[in-house]
């Protein structure tokens, strides 16, 4: 029987994978994908709790998160494209102009 704990553990694993991806990958697009994984890990917690508590609130929240994630992906990718045009590179470490 798959219970709430299973979902939460899976969600935690997914979130950790996403976080690690954000930190260690050197490609902006991969970083954006890692962020999507983190967001979906959170979505999974929402629906898991929603089901366990018999409430629709979790699912409604998920819709919002998905909408925001879509918008974020659009804007994020647009930024990535213009960054690439600027420096011919997708490595985040080559964009450190905003510093002292």
């Amino acid at each position: 029987m798959v219970g709430l704990n299973h979902y939460l553990v899976l969600s935690g694993v997914l979130f950790s994978i996403g976080t690690a991806g954000v930190f260690v990958r050197r490609n902006l697009i991969t970083i954006l994908l890692s962020i999507e994984i983190m967001l979906n890990a959170v979505n999974l917690t929402f629906v898991a709790f929603g089901r366990a508590l018999g409430s629709a609130d979790g699912q409604i929240m998920v819709f919002f998160v998905m909408t925001v994630a879509a918008a974020e992906a659009a804007v994020g990718l647009a930024i990535v494209i213009s960054l690439f045009r600027h420096k011919e590179s997708l490595n985040p470490d080559s964009f450190t102009g905003l510093r002292w």
């Binding site: 976080t19 954000v22 930190f23 985040p92 470490d93 964009f95 450190t96 102009g97 905003l98 510093r99 002292w100």
Partner: protein, 637 residues
């Protein structure tokens, strides 16, 4: 109605100050004169209504609005017309109108905007002066007091491109600040003592008290107020600004520095006569300062060569007379002299202005002479003014000056009376020295080709004031000459004096007559001395000047008072400001603090800025660990 009296000149000020650039000289002059004449007519009607009232109730009060109400302290904007202020508003608006009319011709050579600026200041001055005399409490009076000071500053420095004029303006303003400081402290003390600043209420409160035998609160209060009066009315020790104020246009000298503003101090004492008469110690000081100022300024006036400076010292001297009168408790006498002096001194100033105008700016008496034939109107009116101020019987100055001298003697001050008498002699001498040097004798310079007598507007003002100088004195014709002393009787209710000063108790007609004969003799002697030295035997004057070269130099240098003030006050302040306040306090302390704060921020930023690496992943990591730390904190709770 009362409000309108002071709003009319204010409206004139607004029009000329905002629209002046677009108005021609004719229009701005007409606006200013119209405002003043309208104000004069309203004043006349108001005074007429006042006189129609029964003696006991003579007061018209108009409360415009409550200006300040805070706890126990209330200061309504209330105007009050009583006999004392009615004399003042008639002098201000009447003589003010004449001087406005005179100015339309005198200032004609100014450019249009300057001309409008001049008239806007003049109107503003009138509005403030009327506020000063109509205000029914100290605060309203103070508004006018400061306002006329401002206008005085603006008009002395009217020709501000001239360094001496702008310096003179600043000097007048700063010296007056010293006096105003005393005045304000006096008002504060009055509020602390009486819980009100309304003149009527203070008079009633103080009349319930006895006169102070020793120097106490009332003496201190009145002394502080008197300090304010010495500043505004140019008495020792704060008289130094008035002679320099002659840098302003001559009609300004006539209006502000002879007829109206400088008498504000005298008016203020008259307005608070009840208060002052309860502080005999202060009155003593007032009388002594007045007599000393009168004598000192009179001696300086003897040797000045600038026609306006002679008149300036004469004004200081005559103001001293008024304070002498106030000091011996002859409040009506002081105001009477204020009123007659306004006529003849305005006349003398305007006459000197006509001379200066005719000579294209020449003010040195030694370069005048022989103007009698070319300037007949100016000469004859000036002569009337000189006779009036010298105290020749039948003219305005005689009655008022005589009243003061008599009351001084009757109050038991023979020494002050002697000083007054000597001043009367000096007055006659320096005035006729001026007349003889300017109008009689030989022409000393012939380079003034277009000599012309006063143009019509100036002549009108001169003649009207000359007529005033003749007849004004009859308002206070003393009883022994068949008069009723109507002026004093009219004013008496304003003073609320309910104690002391039984000068009339020893009202020996014989004494009054004797003193009168003495002062007539002195006046004629003065004229004779002047005639001897400056008309018939000019060589004798030069011989005298050589024999008394030392005293003469002291007098020409005005007793070195300006130099003493400069060494004792101005220089130390400058040195302390430069060496102490500037180089130590400002440069080290204040600049050090400000720069130190700046340096601290810059140093801290140098350290903290290293966290701004610009690396997105570093920011993401700090965000992550931050969230973990916060969550961890709450989980551990």
């Amino acid at each position: 109605m009362l409000l309108l009296i002071l709003l009319l000149p204010f409206a004139g000020f607004l029009i000329n100050s905002t629209q002046g650039r677009r108005l021609s000289k004719g229009v701005s002059g007409a606006v200013a004169c119209g405002a003043m004449i309208g104000s004069f007519l309203l004043s006349a009607v108001s005074v007429w209504r006042l006189v129609a009232m029964p003696v006991e109730e003579r007061a018209i009060v108009q409360t415009v609005f409550t200006w300040i109400a805070s706890g126990d302290f209330t200061a309504p904007f209330t105007l009050r017309l009583d006999p004392l202020s009615s004399v003042m508003i008639l002098v201000i608006t009447g003589i003010g109108s004449l001087i406005h009319i005179y100015s339309t011709a005198y200032m004609h050579e100014e450019r249009d905007p300057e001309y409008a600026r001049y008239f806007s200041y003049l109107n503003l001055f009138a509005a403030f002066m009327l506020t000063l005399v109509l205000g029914s409490n100290f605060l309203i009076m103070f508004v006018g007091w400061e306002g006329v000071g401002l206008c005085s500053y603006l008009l002395i420095g009217f020709w501000y491109e001239k360094k001496s004029a702008s310096d003179a303006g600043k000097k007048a303003f700063i010296v007056n600040r010293v006096g105003d400081f005393g005045f304000v402290l006096g008002v504060f003390l009055a509020f602390v003592q009486f819980g009100t600043i309304d003149f009527q209420e203070i008079a009633h409160a103080v009349n319930a008290m006895g006169a102070e035998a020793t120097f106490g609160t009332l003496s201190l209060m009145t002394l502080l107020l008197f300090v304010g009066a010495t500043g505004k009315s140019a008495q020792i020790p704060l008289y130094v600004w008035l002679p320099d104020a002659m840098e302003g246009p001559t009609p300004v000298s006539a209006l502000i520095h002879a007829a109206t503003m400088v008498t504000a101090g005298v008016y203020m004492i008259g307005r608070n006569a009840a208060l002052f008469s309860h502080a005999p110690q202060t009155l003593e000081i007032v009388a002594i300062v007045g007599a000393a100022t009168a004598l000192m300024a009179g001696t300086i006036g003897l040797v000045q060569n600038d026609i306006k400076r002679v008149l300036a010292y004469s004004t200081v001297s005559q103001l001293g007379y008024m304070f002498l009168a106030m000091g011996v408790g002859a409040f009506a006498g002081g105001i009477f002299h204020l009123y007659t002096h306004a006529f003849f001194k305005a006349l003398l100033f305007l006459g000197s202005g006509a001379v200066i105008h005719a000579l294209a700016g020449e003010q040195d008496l030694r370069r005048m002479g022989g103007l009698k034939r070319e300037l007949p109107i100016t000469y004859w009116t000036f002569l009337v003014g000189a006779l009036a101020i010298a105290g020749v019987p039948g003219l305005a100055g005689f009655f008022s000056k005589d009243e003061i001298l008599y009351r001084t003697y009757a109050a038991g001050h023979p020494l002050l009376w002697t000083m007054g008498l000597v001043t009367a002699l000096l007055t006659a001498v320096y005035m006729f020295r001026l007349v003889f040097l300017a109008f009689h004798g030989e022409r000393h310079s012939h380079d003034h080709h277009h000599l012309h007598d006063a143009p019509a507007p100036m002549a009108v003002a001169l003649i009207a004031l000359a007529a005033g100088s003749v007849v004004a004195g009859y308002a206070g014709l003393p009883a022994i000459l068949g008069g009723g002393d109507w002026f004093a009787t009219f004013l008496e209710p304003s003073f609320h004096v309910e104690i002391g000063h039984e000068a009339s108790a020893l009202d020996a007609h014989g004494l009054e007559m004797t003193l009168m004969v003495i002062s007539i003799g002195v006046a004629l002697a003065g004229i004779a001395i002047a005639a001897y030295f400056f008309l018939t035997r000019p060589a004798a004057a030069d011989a005298m000047a050589e024999r008394f070269a030392g005293p003469r130099r002291v007098l020409s240098n005005k007793y070195y008072v300006d130099e003493i003030y400069d060494a004792a006050i101005v220089q130390p302040i400058q040195i302390v400001s430069r060496e102490g306040l500037w180089k130590v306090v400002d440069a080290t302390l204040i600049d050090g603090t400000v720069n130190g704060v700046g340096r601290l921020v810059a140093g801290a930023a140098d350290v903290i800025k290293r966290t701004q690496t610009g690396s997105v992943r570093a920011y993401a990591a700090s965000l992550f660990f931050g969230v973990v730390a916060v969550l961890g904190y709450y989980l551990w709770q």
